[in-house]
């Protein structure tokens, strides 16, 4: 039984780690967006205001993907292990 509980806890930790891989995406996406925005501002310096606003909103939206992963990871680390172990113990009686 200890082995089964250990496997459940290990899988939760592994799942949390895997979920956080999604945290890489927003960083790369935001980096690319800002690089392109810098190019655009270099070409049209008078457009810095609209570019900044659009970029800010775009970056905030891109970051939400990472937040989803973060929430899943937090739930897998804190909430899920106890509940899964309870379900397992309930199932075996």
């Amino acid at each position: 039984m200890e082995l089964a509980i250990g496997i459940i806890l290990g899988c939760c930790a592994l799942g949390a780690g895997t979920a956080m891989i999604a945290g890489i995406g927003p960083g790369i996406g935001e980096g690319n967006a800002v690089a392109k925005a810098c190019e655009a501002i270099g070409r049209q310096p008078e457009s810095i205001g609209p570019v900044r606003t659009t970029m800010l909103m775009g970056c905030a939206v891109a970051e939400t993907t990472g937040l989803y992963a973060l929430v899943i990871a937090i739930l897998l680390l804190t909430w899920a292990p106890g509940h899964l172990v309870d379900i397992f113990l309930g199932a075996i009686g």
Binding site: N32, R52, V61, L67, I74, L77
Partner: protein
């Protein structure tokens, strides 16, 4: 460093929306009968850090736009990682102190800035219907040689070049 007016305006908009949505969240918890001080504490913690995260994003964007392309991308990646860790720490704090914070009330407000951005076109729709002032016709401006900012136009130009 002086904070740009645009950033201040956007942060104020997001902050106002987070306040409204937080009040809505509290109301939902009250209605379902699960409200206690932990819900309020969790909401305060998470809502504050969600707005702070957006403000830091704005400051980073302002800094990045004054740098070269590669340095801007590097700065943005670094900032994104740091802010993600920062939010992770906040969410973990909320999860590890169940006697102080309600987990749902900690996690849900992290998405409020996204909801605010999603609702933005609905709020701004009224602005598009405002009659055009004389001399403020975009079509005329375009014909005079001025261009609205459009990334697709720029990329098309690049391709043609």
């Amino acid at each position: 460093m002086k904070i740009d007016k645009t950033i201040k305006r956007e942060v104020a908009y997001i902050g106002a929306f987070v306040l409204i949505l937080s009040a809505l969240l509290q109301a939902v918890f009250l209605i379902i009968g699960k409200w206690d001080y932990r819900v309020l504490c969790g909401n305060l913690l998470s809502g504050t850090f969600a707005v702070l995260n957006f403000f830091l994003l704005g400051v980073t964007v302002q800094k990045a736009t004054t740098r070269t392309r590669d340095k801007a991308a590097e700065l943005m990646k670094f900032s994104s990682t740091m802010r993600m860790l920062f939010l992770f720490a906040v969410a973990l704090l909320g999860a590890l102190l169940p006697s102080c914070f309600n987990l749902i009330a900690v996690l849900v407000p992290l998405f409020f800035p996204r909801v605010a951005i999603m609702l933005r076109p609905m709020i701004r729709r009224g602005d598009a219907e405002v009659p055009k002032a004389p001399g403020n016709d975009p079509e005329k401006s375009r014909s005079d040689g001025e261009r609205d900012f459009d990334l697709s136009e720029s990329s098309d130009k690049d391709e043609n070049d």
